[in-house]
């Protein structure tokens, strides 16, 4: 089955990104497919390559990048939301791409389920 995922909050401030990541890992472990993870609202802040969390904490951005590298998951950052919040190609972490909101609607159409994580 194909899952679409929407993440509406940035890393650390809210649990949304953590929950979405653990859900994605479980989706793959169950043998399902992830159609796309779309980052909207403050969710775009999950894609900055400049984060440097404390050594004893999880690295949320790096985890997403690794998910893309290991499983080819499509990580899409909304361009309009990203411009508002200062996410551009120059600070984008590996594995993410910036594109339009149409990619979210398309994921809603093409995936069998769309699961939303937010505040």
């Amino acid at each position: 089955m194909k899952f679409g995922i929407l993440v509406n909050e940035g890393p650390y401030q809210h649990q949304a990104s953590d929950s979405a990541y653990l859900f994605c890992k479980a989706v793959l472990a169950k043998g399902h497919e992830i159609h796309r993870v779309f980052f909207y609202h403050d969710g775009v802040n999950n894609s900055t390559r400049l984060t440097e969390p404390p050594q004893d904490d999880r690295n949320i951005v790096a985890r997403w990048s690794k998910l893309a590298a290991d499983h080819g998951v499509d990580l899409v950052v909304c361009v309009a939301a990203a411009l508002r919040r200062g996410i551009k190609d120059e600070n984008l972490a590996p594995g993410f791409r910036i594109s339009g909101l149409g990619q979210l609607v398309e994921s809603g159409i093409q995936a069998d389920r769309l699961v939303v994580f937010g505040d």
Binding site: L22, A26, K30, V116
Partner: protein, 98 residues
């Protein structure tokens, strides 16, 4: 329909809205919404009532982080992230009450 609630019942009206509007389907409590299932809390009666109409699930990793595994009301089913995936797959659609 699978209804996903992620907010504490004493902090936000999202569980109330879900229970008022959702006619049928299952309810999954994640993140701070797991507090809704605490025995002896202000929301315990509400949840017991809801369990008559809906199947109610709680996400165990969130329950354990919040140290309430030993005080959940009867009639709620604990699941892990794999179970969360199965629940989404088993329902035709899902809705997050953000």
């Amino acid at each position: 329909m699978l209804h996903i609630v992620n907010k504490s019942p004493q902090e936000r009206p999202s569980l109330d809205a879900c229970l008022r509007i959702a006619e049928s389907g299952s309810i999954l409590l994640i993140e701070d919404a797991v507090y809704a299932a605490v025995k002896g809390s202000a929301s315990a009666g509400k949840l017991a009532e809801a369990a008559k109409k809906h199947r109610i699930y709680v996400l165990l990793p969130d329950v354990e982080a919040r140290a309430i595994a030993d005080r959940l009301v009867d009639g709620v089913t604990g699941i892990d992230y794999g179970g969360f995936v199965d629940l989404v797959a088993d329902h035709r659609a899902c809705q997050s009450w953000l």
